[in-house]
Amino acid sequence: MSDTSHGTGGLTFDKTKRTWPNEMNILLALIIIVVIFEILGQILPYMNDQSFLFDSRDRFDSIFNEARLRIIILQVAIIGIIALGVTQVIITAGIDLSSGPLVAATAMIAMSFGQTELVNGFANPKALFGTWAMDLPVVVPIVVGLSFGAFIGAINGTFIAFLRIPPFIATLGMFLICRGIALWWSGGNPVSFPTESYKYIGSGMMPVVWFLSLAVIFHLIMRYTVYGKHTYAIGSNEEAARMSGINVKRHKVMVYMIASMLAAFAGVILAAKSETAQAGMGEFYELFAIAMAVIGGISLQGGRGSIIGTVLGAMVLGVIRSGFTYIKLDGSYQLMAMGSIIIAAIILDQYRQRNKA
């Protein structure tokens, strides 16, 4: 472990074995993947020497292909917000499988309070409630969404901390419950046409702004506050944390609540970005959020991992997804390649951990 402020994950800190931080490895991997795509762009005959990251067609003022840089991070920003919460949960040695369906349920609920009454002069055909719920200020869908997330997180946390149900089972149950809520809310119908102000919070690069601001906030919280230190402590050794006076149960409930509120916020933003909420949204989001954390070097045993790692993990997935479209790789191969990369990340990480211990 390079940094004593993080948990030790069962390893004793030894200055002689100090290596560069784990995050540097992920950054290196990120650069290597970019270079691979650049090379593929040069050698694949159908690519016409088009560059992956650089402005090879002279469309922008900078040397980079700005459109590519933007989409790389934009397409992982919303799942990235979920991953910030999942990271905290996994650091406590837990897991949260309910986030994908929670995104869908929250999107449906929040959008019901964020609809506009008139669309291009037509009455909103997807209006769920009466006029009282139309054209409300944007703060309403946000607060409703976050409250719903907090409620679901509190249930998750209570079952896990107080009723001692394994996190995998408790959140798997919640996974199904939330998907059910999403389908039940409007009987499977989409809820569409948000107000201008609601649209705005998910438009353009706004998802990225939310993702990066939340990442900075939670990086500081995890690193410098009691909340963060207790989270790492519980994941490293729950018994020791309890002995040293940490209210483990209450803390766990808090962690699950924060994670679910982040997932709920992702749902609020996703609905704004898509300008619609649909029951099938957020499919596999929970797994991609976990994958971001895992690529970012988190340990599923708890106690180890960081927000910066997860952000870099998200970037890796973003680069891969963009790169596959860039080299026109078929969707079925994309899934296979992405799966292989996730497994490779874990193998590399284990190898590194073994060498250190």
Binding site: Q75, S192, Q278, T325
Partner: protein, 312 residues
Amino acid sequence: MKKLLITASLVAMMGSNAVAQEIGATFSRFDDNWLTVLRNGMVEHAATIDGLSYQQEDASDDLAKQIDQVKNFVASGVDAIIVNIVDTSAGAAITAAAGDTPLVYVNREPDNVNELPATQAFVASNEIESGTLSAFQICNNLRAAGKAGGATGYLMNGQLSNQAAVQRSKDVYDVIGMDMCNFMTIIDEQTANWSRDEAQDLMTNWMSSGEPFDFVLANNDEMAIGAIQAMKAAGMDMAVMQVGGVDASQDALLVMAAGDYDVTVFQDSVGQGTGSIDAALRLIAGEAVDQKVYIPFKLVTPANMGDFLAKN
């Protein structure tokens, strides 16, 4: 006294069972937009029929689950079953699972449609029409815009495991294979899983290559809308861009009303939904039914979109 009450209520329940009719329905997906319109229409239609109890289940795109649902319906003694089949090549398995219980296939055509027993029927649209109508109209529009010398574009697939998606994409290639439309070239095709937000990201990824293009064809409206949102965000002129999809959902028609969307295809949910329930009731009553009912798709463009605004 208690025993008497229980017996009485049991008798009452059996009595009501004898007169009432029960229909069980299974749908390939509950979260599919168009199927939801179909489902809700069927619930409404069923509610208008006296003594009909109507129940529907979600097969979550899982054929094995759907076959079990049909068997469960048979086991619980429903009078008829309606199936929106997950996999159209599995008609024989579903038909066998229903046994003697009347069964109506809705919306999707099973491969055994010509060998259905007398107790079974089929009400749907011919899926081959939808993708073809949409792509052919885009071809016409491109010609009208003077691009018959060559036009390039992108194709967005629905879920790769879904047959309607595979069929609609194949239709696009069939249209492009025609002499009249062979000036169209697909630069790349990828899946956006029927979803609007995935389509936004995919379209933005495509645009980041800077390759010029003239059209986007999508297997459904949601992906077409996502593509349009992404292109507008990138400042493209939607008046010259040709975008085609399938479904004629209300969301899509309002995008069309704004002048951003060019072609979609209307699939008649009311016709299919009421048609399937009525066919089931006739089968229960032992009346003769038309075993194969095709309800046509209709092309929707800005010129006739007003006719469809209140329909799906």
